[in-house]
């Protein structure tokens, strides 16, 4: 007894309004117009007036298009057969593979009971010293990559996905350039990782509402895998496109914007996605890495700003490198005390010295005289950038720590580093 309506009262942006009764909030409907068939969901009910957000957009919808309510909210199929497949945000295959309909699960489901979470305790190895040594990524962490357009963030994501020892990779693409989508897919495929991956992809040319569905679909699927005991890595790129899609829709809904046009609930909306990252007591985990491009390289822009308040740190990608300043893994303390006894020492010392190097560079550029100490710092900085920061460096944590000692001992005397003598005795390379 699904109700069908043939009169659309209002069309604005991707939102249509019909007069209907007995319709539930968030219920799905099928909208059939000369443009074809699209799903839509109820986003507001005001007496008999029902607003629906049309996934394919309202373009071409006529006032006599057909709206058929299907009596349930948005769901996505879930099974192991999702692995290796690519879908749109609404779960339609975009890889010419068969439609999957089994075991539908709700998207945007309830939040995990905090009492069922555990303190994260496992490191995710990436082979990238700027991460492993200086800002260790931790299982169940949610971390954005703050980047300006044009930086190789998708390459970085793909590389981390490949090196991280996870059971399942779920990739959510939002507003992806088609080339980037193909790059990511091919990269996973060529490296044999596609068979443990599921992709939900919205490209820049797809309807905007579908962009909104991508993170929810990706995270709902990730959650199911995690409940089954899998360690899942979710990659989201680019969350700024997601936020912009929300902004666009909020504006067509005539909501009062709070900050640069973004809706007042931007924080809550982003948080409800990011908070899906979890380490379950007695089951698997979800780790989220999400690209957030910063319009105008401005962290105080509402999207990176709200994101930073939600996530457990951030990586800044700038000039093809992960910046040591500003980048932060808030969970690193949980793991870097139990990797190797010199981990924290190397981390702190090398960063402090690099900061001094930056100051020296500044002094140098202002024409001040360079002392012997400055000269040492200059040598150190160059090596640090080349041997540690460069993204092409790919070595395990232990090798990176060893390398740290070598660089330090090549550039400084032990006491100049401020490292406690106990550590020096144990690790400082003996010259000979």
């Amino acid at each position: 007894m699904h109700k069908v309506y043939h009169r659309i009262e209002r069309i604005a942006g991707s939102v249509i309004t019909v007069k209907a009764d007995g319709v539930a909030y968030q219920e799905l409907a099928q909208v059939t117009s000369p443009q074809g068939v699209s799903l839509a969901r109820v986003i507001r009910i005001d007496k008999e007036m029902v607003d629906l957000q049309v996934f394919a957009g309202a373009r071409g919808i006529t006032t006599d298009s057909q709206v058929r309510f299907i009596g349930k909210p948005m769901e996505i199929p879930f099974s192991d057969s999702l692995l290796g497949r690519v879908f749109t945000g609404s779960g339609i295959p975009r890889d010419n593979g068969p439609l999957i309909e089994e075991n539908p699960i709700q998207i945007g489901g309830p939040s995990v009971n905090p009492a069922k979470r555990i303190i994260p305790r496992n490191m995710v190895r990436t082979g990238i010293p700027m991460i492993d040594v200086f800002n260790t990524l931790v299982v169940s962490q949610k971390l954005p990559i703050f980047s300006i357009a044009g930086e190789p963030y998708n390459q970085l994501l793909a590389r981390i996905a490949l090196q991280a020892e996870v059971d399942v990779i779920v990739l959510g693409g939002m507003g992806l350039k088609h080339d980037d989508y193909l790059y990511l897919r091919d990269f996973l495929e060529q490296n044999g990782a596609l068979s443990r991956s599921v992709m939900f992809v919205h490209t820049a040319s797809d309807p905007i509402v579908e962009c909104l569905l991508v993170p929810d679909a990706a995270l709902a699927v990730a959650e199911q895998f995690a409940i089954k005991g899998k360690n899942v890595l979710v990659l989201l790129t680019d969350m700024t496109n997601f936020a912009d899609a929300m902004k666009e829709i909020a504006i067509t809904m005539e909501q009062i914007p709070s900050n640069r046009g973004y809706p007042g609930d931007l924080y809550s909306q982003l948080a409800s996605r990011y908070e899906k990252a979890v380490d379950f007591d007695t089951a698997g985990s979800i780790t989220i890495l999400a690209v957030t491009t910063m319009p105008g390289d401005d962290v105080t822009h509402p999207v990176p700003d709200n994101t930073g308040y939600i996530t457990e740190g951030q990586f800044y990608l700038r000039k093809g490198r992960i910046e040591p300043f500003g980048s932060l893994s808030r969970l690193k303390q949980q793991v870097n005390g139990s990797t190797r006894s010199d981990h924290r020492t190397i981390m702190n010392t090398m960063i402090q010295l690099y900061a001094s190097f930056k100051e020296t560079i500044e002094k140098q550029s202002m024409g001040f005289r360079m002392s012997t100490w400055d000269q040492k710092l200059l040598r150190y900085g160059v090596r640090f950038e080349k041997e540690m920061m460069d993204l092409s460096v790919n070595i395990p944590l232990e090798k990176a720590l060893d390398l740290g000692w070598i660089i330090l001992s090549d550039c400084f005397e032990p006491e100049e580093t401020g490292i406690p003598s106990k550590m020096i005795n144990e690790y400082w390379p003996k010259k000979g």
Binding site: Y25, D46, P114, A115, P257, Y267, A283, G308, I310, L331
Partner: protein, 577 residues
């Protein structure tokens, strides 16, 4: 009689309900899903024959025409023994018990009693038959962990009542009646171990409110020495993300010199609550030797939990704090972050289509914030004992810019401002409280005159540093250079504190006084150096040893040795040496 209504509109977590009968502002109602699940809601606006309600849950599936049952009661909490050590959501549902029943995920429409109904408490009567008492006066006590939990004349009692009957010592459940009270008009009131109180109404069953004058030692040097907080005072910690608001609150919740700590995790990360949740039971409170959890209560409405319950969570927190204050205890309420609650108000206000104020926050934001912080305070109870509620709220300003409505509204009402700066946190100078912008109206634990001098040195050091950026070290006089090094020294060894070090993480009041005197002495020592390079080298080393000094047990053998070493090296550079 409670009224009923029908839903006419759904917009996110706001529903519009046509009702018959009487409905009160802030009354609780339940919206019924076709499946029978009832979603808790609160009336937030009434217009003619319809009311608007915020639903504390996801509203997916609600329809126009669905039933709404009003309860006739305001949003309330249960007060009684057994609250401490618990972890509640914003509506006072115990999360661990919810997890036992529902598993990994929160289930909407599932509500549990805050207090266990079958647990027995050993009641000892204090009042006697014939005693004339008023609301908040003690009828008896039960032991709750390390505290003597007072069972009081229900707060809602308006007049003097006479004790008609009081139960003898024995074990009772929270629902057992332990006294029968009668007022002058002959109305009887049954007092149980537990009582119910609406969260938005302050508990004021005391005889007078006093000026907060006693310091609440947090064991963070920069706070206790430079920007102290008083028991019963209020303070705020605004700062951009990653500047250290949460870590600072976590440290305070561990080390603050109070009886009870209530943590209201409001709209922030779940993971941070989990840290407290999992670590506190393992940690000992040095004051009592018992687990820290025994003095802690967590209200947890993290960012992905229902937005409308954020507001409820801070009120639930402060109401529970006031309740324990009524027992003559010092309670600290820490809310992280008040901005999330303000944003929840903004979301609601937007859906109500109210005329927006600055950054779309509602025009009443200021008064709401002010009346929340007003609930802090030191009071003299009716029996003469003193209790306090201290409130510390973090603020998360958009873009880290303090010129925004929530920070500004908060600054108008609090007694101390601990402004965290991005610059300091980037330099890993923790706690990243900006020593130049922050302020406190409370008295601290160190002689104010000396603190002023120390502040002055910091300010001068910053000036010299600014100047040096232009003229270089060569263009700076030796005297200025030394001032700069001294201010950096003060910053490194006193303002900064290592949160992750067993000993340095907390610095007792005694130790602060001791350390401050010594550092002050060094700052006041005139020094002579040949070259700036020598001066720099000297202070580098001095800083290192002083930091080591901070990291050893107070007054231990090592402590004394390091102190000697410090003063020996200072003597070597002192001008008159």
């Amino acid at each position: 009689m409670a009224s009923i209504g029908k839903i006419t509109g759904v917009n996110g977590n706001l529903i519009r309900v046509a009702f018959v009968g009487a409905v009160a502002q802030n009354e609780v109602a339940y919206a019924k899903l076709p499946s029978g699940i009832k979603l808790k809601s609160e009336v937030i606006r009434i217009r003619g024959d319809y009311a608007e309600l915020q639903v504390f849950e996801d509203t997916t599936g609600l329809k126009a025409g669905d039933d709404v049952e009003f309860t006739g009661e305001l949003l309330s909490v249960e007060l009684g023994p057994g609250l401490l050590g618990q972890v509640f959501d914003g509506l006072q549902n115990p999360l661990p018990r919810l997890a036992e029943e529902c598993g990994f995920f929160l289930q909407r429409g599932k509500y549990l009693n805050a207090l266990e109904r079958d647990q027995k408490w050993a009641f000892t009567p204090v009042a006697k038959v014939g005693d004339k008492l008023t609301a908040g006066e003690t009828l008896g006590t039960v032991p709750e962990g390390i505290f003597k939990h007072r069972i009081m004349v229900p707060f809602k009692v308006r007049k003097t009542v006479t004790v008609e009957k009081i139960m003898p010592a024995g074990d009772y459940t929270v629902e057992d009646v332990i006294a029968i009270l009668k007022d002058a008009d002959g109305n009887t009131v049954e007092a149980k171990i537990m009582q119910i109180w609406p969260v938005k109404i302050p508990i004021k069953q005391y005889s007078e409110r006093m000026r907060p004058s006693e310091p609440m030692v947090t064991q963070q040097r920069i706070i206790d020495t430079f920007f102290p907080v008083a028991r019963g005072g209020t303070y705020c910690i605004p700062g951009p993300f990653g500047a250290g608001k949460t870590v600072l609150q976590q440290l305070t919740s561990r080390y603050a010199d109070v009886d009870i700590v209530i943590l209201a995790a409001c709209g922030e990360r779940a993971g941070e609550v989990v840290e407290t949740l999992r670590e506190f039971p393992e940690l000992n409170d040095p004051r009592t030797g018992k687990s820290l959890m025994e003095r802690t209560l967590i209200i947890c409405n993290t960012s992905s939990m229902p937005v409308a319950a954020r507001e409820a969570s801070v009120y639930t927190g402060v109401t529970l704090a006031e309740y324990y204050r009524q027992m003559g205890l010092n309670v600290l309420l820490l809310a992280d972050s008040t901005s999330r609650w303000a944003q929840a108000l903004r979301e609601m206000s937007g859906r109500l289509e109210e005329i927006p104020g600055e950054e779309a926050f509602p025009a009443y934001l200021e008064s709401v914030i002010a009346s929340f912080y007003e609930r802090g305070g030191v009071v003299r109870l009716k029996d003469g004992s003193i209790g306090s509620v201290t409130i510390g709220g973090s603020v998360s300003p958009a873009g880290g810019n303090f010129e925004e409505p929530v920070t500004q509204a908060t600054l108008k009402v609090v007694g101390a401002f601990h402004g965290l700066s991005r610059e300091r946190s980037d330099q890993r100078r923790f706690p990243a409280i900006n020593p130049m912008d922050s302020w406190s109206k409370y008295e601290g634990i160190i002689n104010e005159q000396k603190v002023q001098e120390a502040r002055h040195i910091l300010a001068m050091g910053i000036d010299v540093n600014q100047m040096m950026k232009v003229v270089g070290e060569e263009g700076t006089s030796m005297e200025d250079f030394i001032t700069y090094l001294k201010s950096e020294y003060l910053d490194s060894v006193y303002l900064q504190q290592d949160a992750y070090h067993d000993i340095d993480a907390a610095c007792s009041a005694d130790r602060q006084q001791y350390l401050f005197d010594k550092v002050y002495e060094i700052l006041k020592t005139a020094m002579t150096f040949k070259e700036k390079e020598n001066a720099r080298g000297f202070f580098l080393k001095l800083t290192q040893i002083t930091k080591d000094w901070n990291r050893v047990e107070f007054k231990s053998k090592e402590f004394k040795e390091l102190e000697e070493q410090i003063f020996k090296s200072v003597a070597e550079v002192a001008t008159n040496a």
